[in-house]
């Protein structure tokens, strides 16, 4: 205990501003540069720093805490291009008080940002491997930075597969980009919807049905999955059936979060803090928790 206690007694910085800016709980003002509707309930905010033009460096899969003045704060994954750190991009679904307030923000409005937080996708470990990206609904948003990174360094990776499931054709995110990616010869893109009317000519069914129809080498591939837990569970099952070992599968988890720095306790998932140990986990790190209800 001696060392523990003596550590506490290190001098605080004397400059009070240094203390304030060092406080990870204080949001920094960012300006809304663009608000782009994606689907009926989902939109993308493009932000830039309001008080400096310092780039916002982040790893694909990390998230920020976004604050609407006087309303509240929510965790939102970063969905922009890590190679364009001047533009901070988030795709948000309006489901609560704060996100609905964000949906009404106009160009020029100010939001608070804390971050980036957490551990992202294994884009380095995936080099020289096939990459299988499986997204459900808004789960595509935190995977998009990984896709940007992989496509920018395309030669470093083997086959690249994107499997994406949405509820209906109207709920498909980033539709123009999906079309562009689908047109590439160095990438396989498959999209499915849960239900559709007659004008939909694509696949109907759950995203896991796309896995057997896709070609990748399960022993030399990395899978990155983000979506509802039930979708991730069946995706893992299908990947396992294809012969992929558990330690090649990565998932992004979600829990209630208030602080993003491991203090508030809300995001605990067994012994893990989603905010700082995740949100991206290698499946083997959490497989003993994954099937347990109400954990």
């Amino acid at each position: 205990m001696e060392t523990l206690v003596s550590d506490v007694k290190q001098e605080l910085p004397t400059d009070s501003m240094a203390v304030l800016t060092a406080d990870p709980m204080i949001p920094e003002p960012f300006r809304v540069v663009q608000r782009k509707p994606e689907t009926e309930d989902t939109f993308t905010l493009v932000l830039e720093r309001a008080q400096s033009d310092r780039p916002f460096e982040f790893q694909p899969g990390q998230f920020n805490m976004l604050y609407v003045f006087g309303v509240g704060e929510v965790p939102i994954s970063i969905s922009g291009d890590p190679a364009q750190p001047q533009r901070l991009v988030h795709t948000i679904r309006a489901v609560g008080t704060v996100t609905r307030a964000m949906q009404k923000l106009r160009k020029g409005a100010i939001v608070g940002v804390r971050g980036p937080f957490g551990r992202g996708w294994p884009v380095l470990e995936a080099q020289q491997q096939d990459v299988v990206i499986v997204a459900g609904g808004i789960g595509l948003a935190p995977l998009r930075p990984a896709l940007y990174h992989i496509l920018r360094h395309r030669d470093a990776y083997g086959r690249v597969v994107l499997l994406y499931g949405a509820r209906t054709p109207e709920d498909i995110l980033y539709i123009k980009e999906l079309e562009k990616w689908r047109g590439r010869f160095d990438m396989e893109v498959k999209v499915t919807v849960d239900r559709a009317l007659g004008d939909w000519h694509g696949h109907v069914g759950v995203v896991t049905q796309l896995i057997p129809k896709t070609s990748f080498d399960p022993q030399n591939a990395i899978a990155m999955i983000c979506g509802p837990e039930i979708m991730m569970r069946f995706t893992i099952y299908e990947l396992q059936r294809s012969g992929m070992p558990n330690d090649r599968i990565y998932v992004s988890m979600e829990r209630n979060m208030k602080c993003a720095i491991g203090f508030c306790g809300h995001c605990q998932y067994g012994p893990k803090f989603i905010c700082k140990d995740g949100p991206v986990f290698r499946y083997t790190e959490i497989e003993n928790l994954f099937g347990i209800r109400e954990i």
């Binding site: 523990l4 206690v5 007694k9 720095i261 203090f263």
Partner: protein, 379 residues
């Protein structure tokens, strides 16, 4: 002020009649003294002016779901176990303003923060509580980030241990290896000895700040007999622990038993009142509240203690992850006695017994843990 272990600790004897001198020395050094006092039928922590504010002549009787004050029949000051308060309320306050901002032309700006903190002396810290503070250090200072609120308060606090000589029936610090004797990590440690005619405190310094206070008190060095009497009083306490908890294999057993039907059974008794988390000296979970003034020009964020027993705690769009009471109890107990070890390298329980006494339906963490460990359910 350094909390490094005192290189030349001094052990002296302070006659009980001179306890007021300790108060005077602390006050002259600018400390506001916080310590135990009787209020609302319990021994709680509050600001103390003099030894008259201490619970002299009082003791407590604790059992599952039960806490009663009673007269001890002796003139001792510290013959009681821990009450509903813990030092957490001063180091990590129940409600704290994290920041205040105001709107300006283009956005928002941070307003000046709160003023300087009071310099507190914590008088009457027990060994279990000292370990609880050490656990909070691990959570709030050594976890990758530092909490500035906690750090500033922790740095200022002078810790005066009063060794425990009166454990309650709900106590099990000996099992958790967190007491009853505080060995280090304090500025000053006192042991109260009431030995027939004589009533005195054996004082031991544990830091430079503590040694300065001992020197200013100018007491006689403690005799070998006095030191032995103090040691004996604490040793006797270890033998009077009302409860035990076998921690051997506890973590593995709890992890293996996440689907044990007993969780549901506890969930049926548990009222989800959050008392256990509020009295716990190590529970650190918080939530935030965002508020504005009427004009909407000034916004504040407050942090307040939260509890994993509420439905809101695990709320994720669409509902709560832990919607049953059994799942919430499992989260709490498994966190305390298993996942805390993975997270912070120690149990999140110091064996103080507060959650047992203050549970309105008398749920006993030692009993529930024992049941969970008795058999491993095949999954």
């Amino acid at each position: 002020m350094s909390k490094k272990k005192d290189a030349s600790p001094q052990t002296v004897t302070l006659p009980s009649n001179d306890l007021s001198r300790l108060f005077q020395v602390l006050q002259s050094r600018g400390y506001t003294i916080l310590g135990p006092t009787v209020r609302d039928g319990a021994i709680v922590y509050d600001e103390l002016d003099s030894p008259d504010d201490l619970p002299r002549g009082w003791t407590d009787e604790q059992e599952k779901g039960r806490y009663r004050l009673k007269k001890s029949g002796y003139g001792t000051y510290f013959s009681f176990a821990v009450g509903p308060h813990s030092w957490k309320q001063y180091l990590y306050p129940p409600r704290v303003r994290l920041w205040q901002m105001h709107k300006n032309g283009t956005g928002f700006e941070l307003n000046a923060q709160n003023g300087p903190l009071k310099k507190y002396a914590f008088l009457g810290v027990r060994s279990c509580e000292l370990h609880a503070i050490e656990i909070l250090d691990r959570v709030l200072l050594q976890n990758g980030f530092e909490d500035p609120t906690y750090k500033a308060r922790r740095k200022e606090a002078l810790i005066i241990v009063v060794q425990c000589t009166a454990p309650a029936s709900t106590c099990f610090c000996a099992s958790m290896q967190t007491g009853p004797k505080a060995e280090r990590g304090f500025d000053l440690a006192m042991t109260e000895v009431a030995d027939g005619e004589r009533h005195y405190f054996v004082l031991q310094s544990g830091s430079d700040a503590g040694r300065e206070i001992v020197q200013e008190l100018a007491c006689a060095a403690a005799t070998a007999e006095e030191i032995a009497a103090a040691e004996q009083a604490v040793k006797a306490a270890a033998e009077r622990m009302g409860r035990t908890l076998d921690t051997h294999g506890l973590q593995a057993a709890l992890y293996a038993n996440r689907e044990h039907p007993h969780w549901r059974e506890v969930g049926e008794r548990c009222l989800n009142c959050t008392n256990c988390t509020q009295v716990c000296p190590t529970c650190f979970c918080t939530t935030v509240e965002d508020i504005t003034d009427l004009t909407g020009a000034t916004a504040e964020r407050w942090r307040r203690w939260d509890s994993c027993f509420t439905m809101e705690f695990s709320y994720l769009h669409g509902g709560s992850v832990r919607s049953s009471a059994g799942a919430r109890y499992r989260q709490w107990l498994t966190h305390k006695l298993a996942s805390w070890v993975d997270q912070f390298g120690a149990f999140g329980c110091v064996g103080c017994g507060r959650c047992i006494a203050w549970c309105p339906v008398g749920i006993d963490i030692t009993e529930e843990a024992r049941i969970m460990c008795a058999e491993t359910v095949n999954q």
